[in-house]
């Protein structure tokens, strides 16, 4: 029986408290038949269990130890915060994962039938302002079964970075129990990726959407390092109103095992070609329109395409309208 993990299909948006914001959103999308890469969430309880139930070695019960260390911090002194952070994080990394938990995570990993996963922390705080530093919690790409448990612990310990500690002190949250869930998700090696806005970002026309697409990883588009193709689609009859093809000479790709990203040249024949075919544009448009329908408000979507299939990697409401 699983206790500490839940696969995406068993999570909904109501589960922020146990699966974190990111985990809840991925569960919600999976259930809405939105094609997100498969995965599971290591629930916040797992972290609590890790802190409370760990065997005594090498130190005393971890949560007490952490509390004691935090109590001694001089918050006017950044060195003192840094030192406490280092010690706390080291303790966590050195603490052995409880056996039952380790087994459960390994079993869920096997079900994904994938070599690499992305491991991300998913903050459970309901105060949305906490998300502002929670957003800086760690992400580990290209994680294998072997390194998985270690990366999970790193996600947990990211609650104790100097910045996170200081923020909680400032907001007078230092004594409160804060927890974090961890999302483990299949890695999608995008051949093509991009963003989509389900309203026209310039004219604000609600019957139109725009898709931007480029070869390689989406980071290059999001950060503006390449000029993507752009396609305008009429949402009412799924006709393509406009296609603008941009020349793309280089693309970002992931260095396989070592992690990190590198620029690679785009094959000469593809540089000036239209990145998505008309049929693909329509297929992606349908997915995006469904997401918008599900959330009942215009969405800013990040997507990837690999081995003949579209994946949605993120969807957020557009707040700037």
């Amino acid at each position: 029986m699983t206790k500490f993990t839940k696969p995406f299909p068993k999570i909904s948006k109501k589960d922020v408290a146990i699966a974190g914001g990111k985990g809840a959103s991925l569960g919600e999308m999976t259930n809405a038949k939105i094609p997100v890469p498969k995965g599971f969430v290591i629930l916040a309880e797992a972290f609590d269990h890790f802190l409370n139930e760990t065997p005594k070695s090498p130190v005393a019960q971890t949560d007490l130890e952490v509390d004691a260390l935090l109590a001694k911090v001089n918050f006017d002194d950044t060195n003192s915060i840094d030192k406490a952070s280092n010690v706390i994080r080291d303790i966590m990394h050195d603490t052995k994962m409880p056996k039952a938990l380790a087994q459960e995570i390994a079993a869920e990993f096997k079900k994904l039938k994938t070599k690499y996963v992305a491991v991300r922390s998913s903050a459970t705080a309901e105060d949305s302002s906490i998300a502002s530093w929670a957003g800086e919690l760690e992400t580990y790409l290209h994680t294998t079964e072997k390194t998985l448990l270690d990366k999970v612990k790193h996600c947990w310990s990211s609650l104790y970075t100097p910045r996170a500690i200081f923020y909680r002190y400032e907001k007078k949250l230092i004594d409160q129990q804060v927890s974090v869930a961890v999302v483990v998700q299949e890695m999608v090696e995008s051949e093509i990726s991009g963003v989509a806005f389900t309203v026209h970002p310039v004219t604000k026309a609600k019957n139109q959407m725009i898709i931007e697409a480029g070869f390689g990883l989406g980071e290059a588009i999001v950060s503006g390092q390449i000029t993507p193709d752009s396609y305008i689609v009429d949402k009412t009859d799924l006709s393509i109103l406009d296609i603008n093809v941009a020349e793309q000479k280089r693309m970002l790709v992931r260095k396989s095992q070592a992690g990190g990203i590198v620029w690679k040249p785009v094959a000469k024949a593809k540089q000036e070609s239209q990145v998505l075919s008309g049929k693909q544009i329509i297929e992606l448009s349908k997915i995006c329109i469904n997401i918008e329908k599900h959330y009942k408000c215009p969405q800013d979507i990040e997507w990837a395409y690999t081995k003949g299939k579209f994946y949605i990697t993120q969807s957020r409401p557009i707040t700037t309208l």
Binding site: Y231, I232, D237, L238, S239, I240, L241, D242, I243, V245, E272, S273, Q274, S277, G278, K279, I281, I282
Partner: protein, 513 residues
């Protein structure tokens, strides 16, 4: 052996791929209507970002074709009139098919039916467009042979008979058409609807008491018969400003103008009478001038043919704009079915349209290239469409005539509408440049076309590089009575924004001052 030299004959702003691959083909195919044997064998058409930046002819061929056409117009006007009657029939035929197409629901057509419809329209466009090309365009296309011949005829006669007449005014009047084109017809019907609105107190209240978008929403409150007249007017004529690429007018455009005219309380019957009687007045004045100039039947026949040419050119172009509007609807439907953009669909050839509708893969990358840069080489009955590096390489292997631009203090052209004015130059080649125009400025353009009319209305004088008595600038200038010099060849390259010039449109001379 000397290489064949290409000479550039025209450029057109904002042009469709439809026209680009349809027109030269039809010109080459249909020259047998005019000449016993083929004179033109090749044409090169270059488009960059939907502007036709150059259309080239082989220099000796072009000259021979112009000479042969001129010879026909002057020595055998009866034959040319007969060719025109055929061309008019082809245009009417196209117009009927377009009207029919306007009232069908293309979404209900099968792919095969859609392909068939496109092919029928395409063939009719080629017949309508190509069948009067030589006498309505080419004869004046290089040096304005016909215009100069007619001007000289008038001038000589005025001198011989010692008449106190201005030759430019006389020429202008004698070549003004007495038949109306579609825009003028629209204008009449527009005023007729305005008259109906004025007669209906409820409608008058609606128009005077609301903004155009509110009027549109409240049209249902009107008498259904009047509402139908209003809506139908838009449906029937919305393509008038379409040119080759659109857009058409919205219903709101007409509502706004009706509203504006209602507020101005113009005398509608007087305006309608002016439109109708204007033509009779011209006819009367022409007859008077013919008598004064002592023109014989033969002379009159040539001048009547000249005004027919002016009319036919503007009318056949209007039909072509209507066709562009309708064909774009077919492209839109095709784009939706084949999952390509409207603009991509617009860059398919007539043959490719049939192919993609029968399931063949759409060459999207080729279409995207065509949008950016395309060279079409027409040779007898074949056309070769080139893009990208292939097109550049082809152009590099051809020999093009170099045009020398000298920075002259004085420019010469053909007087199209007489008058003398001084003013600041504004170069206006595309609608985006129209905002520069202040009332009284001298508008200088390579050539003009319907979308530029708002700027032309403000001009103190109009100067163009292209020319001929059938050119758009000349026709509009005469209509608006604005001094106009056409056929200067280099004005838009030599003159700059802000130059002060003196335009003597009576003698066709422009001086920098």
């Amino acid at each position: 052996m000397t290489a064949k030299i290409w000479t550039k004959n025209w450029e057109i702003r904002r042009v469709s791929f439809l026209l680009s691959h349809e027109a030269p083909e039809s010109f080459l195919k249909l020259q047998n209507l005019y000449f016993g044997s083929k004179i033109l064998t090749q044409i090169i058409w270059v488009n960059e970002n939907q502007d036709n930046t150059a259309t080239y002819f082989l220099k000796p061929e072009l000259r021979r074709a112009i000479d042969a056409t001129f010879d026909l117009v002057v020595n055998n006007p009866g034959k040319v009139s007969q060719i025109h009657r055929q061309a008019i029939e082809h245009n009417r035929d196209l117009f009927r098919l377009l009207k029919k197409t306007q009232s069908v629901n293309l979404a209900k057509f099968s792919n095969q039916q859609l392909a068939l419809l496109y092919s029928r329209i395409f063939k009719k466009i080629q017949l309508a467009h190509g069948s009067s090309f030589y006498s309505t365009y080419l004869v004046d296309a290089d040096g304005e042979d016909l215009t100069n011949y007619l001007i000289n005829k008038v001038r000589q006669r005025i001198i011989e008979l010692k008449l106190k007449l201005n030759f430019a005014e006389v020429f202008s009047l004698l070549t003004t058409p007495t038949r109306i084109n579609l825009e003028q017809l629209e204008n009449r019907q527009f005023l007729a609807v305005l008259s109906d609105i004025t007669a209906d107190s409820q409608a008058k209240k609606l128009f005077l008491g609301n903004l155009p978008d509110q009027i549109e929403k409240k049209l249902n409150e009107l008498d259904p018969r009047l509402k139908r007249k209003i809506v139908n007017h838009h449906r029937r004529w919305q393509w008038i400003p379409y040119d080759y690429l659109g857009p058409a007018y919205e219903l709101g455009y007409y509502l706004e103008i009706w509203r504006g005219l209602l507020k101005q309380k113009i005398n509608i019957n007087k305006e309608i009478a002016k439109l109708v009687n204007g033509r009779d007045e011209i006819r009367k004045q022409k007859n008077k001038l013919f008598k004064q100039l002592e023109f014989n039947r033969y002379d009159r026949q040539i001048f009547d043919l000249a005004s027919e040419i002016v009319w036919l050119k503007s009318w056949r172009k209007e039909v072509l704009f209507f066709a562009s509007f309708i064909v774009d609807k077919v492209y839109q439907e095709l784009a939706r079915r084949c999952h390509i953009s409207f603009n991509q669909a617009r860059h398919l050839t007539n043959i490719e349209v049939a192919q993609v509708l029968s399931g063949k893969v759409v060459p999207i990358n080729e279409l995207n290239q065509r949008i950016k840069f395309v060279v079409i080489h027409f040779k007898s009955f074949s056309k070769r469409i080139m893009t990208g590096a292939t097109a550049k390489k082809f152009m590099a292997t051809q020999h093009f005539e170099k045009i020398k631009i000298v920075d002259a203090k004085e420019l010469k052209g053909t007087p199209a509408c007489p008058g003398k004015v001084k003013g600041l130059v504004k170069i206006v080649n595309v609608p985006d440049e129209m905002s520069k125009m202040k009332s009284g400025n001298i508008m200088v353009a390579h050539s003009t076309y319907p979308s530029l009319v708002p700027a032309m209305k403000k001009a103190g004088a109009i100067i163009t590089e292209d020319g001929g008595l059938t050119c758009h600038a000349a026709i509009v200038a005469r209509e608006l009575k604005i001094p106009c010099v056409v056929g200067t060849r280099i004005a838009a390259k030599v003159l700059k924004d802000g130059d002060m010039v003196e335009v003597d449109a009576t003698n066709g001379i422009i001086k920098k001052v």
